[in-house]
């Protein structure tokens, strides 16, 4: 899941980005309104965490421009403005959620998770593909009755594939939604992590869970 954080207060920007990264999200960060709008329009983000009072361009303008441009990303407004009028105004301008500072980081994570699910039209926080079971709030994975121990990076890749279960997911999609910009120069990283997942999840004598669709990408579960 790729998240954009537009927040101008450096310590908060740093903490939010760190927390989200540790939760397995690919996070891009900016503290500048204009740059934030440019990021949000030129990349596919699942969730945008947006502060309202920003230099150069305020959050409401960014939100309106994003919606006017038809960007489908889910926007969570994260602001110190707490009045009823502010919340209503924010949600009516096209935000999907509104969280007032200071906040519990757990709540921010839960809300980002909920918005990320919604990005793939999923309501149930428990994903099931065949006998594979993923609990997104706790990030735990079972194959049948046996729990699989995944690293955060392996987990987010699996979660992304599970959210799009039955579809062919291209490497570019994975690259854009799961891994951070510039963090890995080698695009083989996707194949490497698919390999790790297979090692931990595939069981001999059972049909493969992650299929390679030659020339197009990967698919989880039954499908075309």
């Amino acid at each position: 899941m790729r998240v954009l954080v537009i927040e101008d207060y450096p310590p908060l920007q740093k903490a939010v980005a760190k927390g989200l990264r540790e939760a397995g999200y690919a996070v891009d960060v900016t503290g500048d309104g204009e740059e934030g709008l440019w990021y949000a329009t030129s990349n596919e983000y699942d969730v945008v965490v947006l502060d309202l009072m920003l230099p150069k361009m305020d959050g409401m303008t960014i939100l309106k421009r994003l919606r006017a441009a038809g960007r489908p990303c889910h926007v969570l407004i994260l602001t110190a403005k707490d009045t009823l009028a502010d919340r209503v105004h924010g949600l009516d301008a096209g935000a999907d959620d509104y969280l007032v500072k200071p906040f519990a980081f757990e709540e921010l994570l839960a809300r980002v998770r909920a918005l990320a699910r919604r990005a793939y039209c999923i309501k149930n926080p428990r994903l099931e593909v065949g006998d594979l079971r993923i609990e997104t709030p706790t990030q735990r994975v079972w194959r049948g009755k046996e729990e699989a121990r995944l690293t955060p990076r392996e987990y987010v890749l699996l979660e992304y594939l599970a959210m799009r279960a039955g579809q062919v997911v291209s490497r570019t999609d994975i690259w854009e939604h799961v891994y951070e910009f510039n963090s890995e120069a080698d695009s083989n990283v996707v194949d490497v992590y698919i390999g790790y997942l297979r090692k931990k999840l595939e069981r001999p004598g059972r049909p493969p869970l992650i299929r390679t669709v030659r020339g197009r990408g990967y698919a989880l579960g039954e499908g075309p």
């Binding site: 207060y9 927390g19 200071p102 980081f105």
Partner: protein, 474 residues
């Protein structure tokens, strides 16, 4: 007397009662005079009638008048009296009502009737008219007898009448007038009470309206339509007062909201940093870094809270300023100390031109706060490789200080807002979170409190703050 109602009532009713009483007294006086005059005229009339019947015959005078024919002289309770004296106060004739008694003797004036209040023979009060006149002998009679005309005889005629009925009439009149006065007074009281109540009703209504104004409905205004003309200025002033109050309350609310807002962001920073740090077991250096971050934020918050408190105390007049002579150069050097290294690292050129002997009058602690704020602003907003100039000069009774820096991205319109609490330019937002928009507000309040002035200007990217402080008294 503090009650307007009582005052109006007392003055109106008192005035009207006095008016009616004076009127009654005047009417009584006029009526008394008129009744006395007609009483006297009637008495004189009777005397003249009797006088006309007095004849002289051979030196003997006699009135050819029989009082027994006149009902007034026969009145059983208050009969009239008359007595006629010849020369030498010899009684010639007297009315039957006198019996053998005499009326009081009063010397009559020739021609003019004389009126006297006398005691009547029966011991009652009465009034008497005295006429003195000469009676000539009848010439025809004289001729008949062929004698010489005898000399005219001077006679005195007195007619008296009891005054009790007149006094009774006057007393009745007096009572009538007194009761009329009392009645008019009572009526005036009633009318005045109603009029005053109605007249003061708008005051009560106004009090009600003012009483209904609370902190949360300061936007209400007192309607001036239909208000009595005399009260309109009061209503207008009250509305002006409400407008000012509303503005002050709005500012205070905005300030509180802004303060809460500005404190929330760093709080969110601390909380998130800590929660993220605690979310899993980490290496010591990661904890160290999180703690360092929290400490930085805490320092910023502390500086903001200090500024907030200083600002609030300055605005509330709670700061006891202790003006003393302060060497400007010394204080500037002290405040510049903590900033020097960072400024040098950013290759900013600095020029100080502050005469060492320049002394101004100010509260040392607050002036230090002012200078720290101004110098920190200059240091933080100057572009890398830019220039800062700090110049002070002595004017006749003031010290002028100018701090200017390059790299200002504020427009002329934006500069007008720099003294507002929590106002921040766009570039300030992009900064490190150190500036929350209180510094210049604090500078302005403090300098004003010292009796100085401060203004800012921007031209071609050069931002300049000019502070004028009172010079030290020689």
């Amino acid at each position: 007397m503090r009650s307007l109602r009582a005052r109006l009532l007392v003055w109106t009713v008192g005035g009207m009662a006095l008016l009616v009483a004076v009127f009654g007294v005047v009417v009584y006086g006029v009526m008394r005079q008129s009744l006395n005059r007609s009483f006297n005229a009637s008495l004189a009339g009777v005397a003249r009638t009797i006088g006309a019947t007095v004849k002289q015959e051979g030196g003997q005078v006699e009135a050819e008048f029989d009082d027994r024919d006149i009902p007034a002289f026969r009145h059983p309770k208050h009969p009239d009296y008359f007595e006629l004296w010849g020369e030498g106060r010899r009684v010639v004739q007297r009315s039957a009502s006198l019996g053998q008694k005499d009326l009081e003797w009063c010397e009559g004036d020739a021609g003019e009737p004389r009126f006297d209040d006398v005691r009547l023979p029966h011991g009652r009060d009465g009034r008497m008219v005295t006429l003195a006149f000469q009676v000539k002998a009848d010439p025809e009679e004289q001729a008949k007898q062929g004698g010489l005309a005898p000399a005219p005889v001077t006679v005195t005629l007195a007619v008296a009448r009891e005054t009790a009925p007149l006094n009774a009439d006057l007393e009745f009149l007096a009572r009538l007038l007194a009761s009329a006065t009392a009645g008019a007074g009572l009526l005036a009281l009633l009318v005045a009470a109603i009029v005053v109540r109605q007249g003061l009703a708008p005051l009560g209504a106004l009090a009600g309206r003012i009483g209904a104004i609370r902190e949360d409905n300061l936007a209400t205004r007192i309607p001036l339509d239909g208000m009595p003309t005399e009260m309109e200025p009061i209503g207008r002033r009250l509305n002006d007062l409400l407008l000012r109050l509303e503005e002050v309350f709005r500012r205070e609310r905005a300030f509180t909201a802004d303060a809460a807002h500005e404190l929330r962001t760093p709080l969110a920073g601390i909380r998130s940093t800590m929660e993220v740090a605690l979310s899993r077991l980490r290496k010591p250096d990661e904890y160290q870094q999180a703690l360092g971050d929290c400490l930085t934020i805490t320092r910023q918050m502390q500086s903001m809270v200090d500024n907030l408190l200083a600002l609030s105390r300055l605005e509330g007049g709670q700061t006891a300023l202790q003006p003393e002579p302060v060497r400007l150069a010394e204080l500037i050097e002290k405040c510049w100390g903590p900033l020097a290294a960072a400024v040098e690292a950013r290759r900013i050129a600095c020029r100080f031109d502050v005469p060492a002997d320049l002394v101004c009058t100010a509260d040392r602690a607050n002036l230090a706060r002012v200078l720290s704020n101004l110098l920190a602003n200059a240091a933080d907003y100057t572009d890398d490789g830019g220039r800062i100039e700090i110049v002070a000069i002595a004017a006749c009774d003031a010290v002028g200080l100018k701090i200017s820096n390059t790299g200002c991205r504020l427009s002329q319109d934006e500069v007008a807002h720099v003294f507002e609490r929590f106002w921040r330019g766009d570039s300030a937002r992009a900064a490190t979170g150190v500036h929350c928009g209180l510094g210049l507000a604090l500078v302005q309040r403090a300098v004003t409190a010292f009796g100085g002035t401060v203004d800012v200007g921007v031209a071609g990217g050069l931002f300049a703050v000019r502070v004028r402080l009172p010079a030290a008294k020689a």
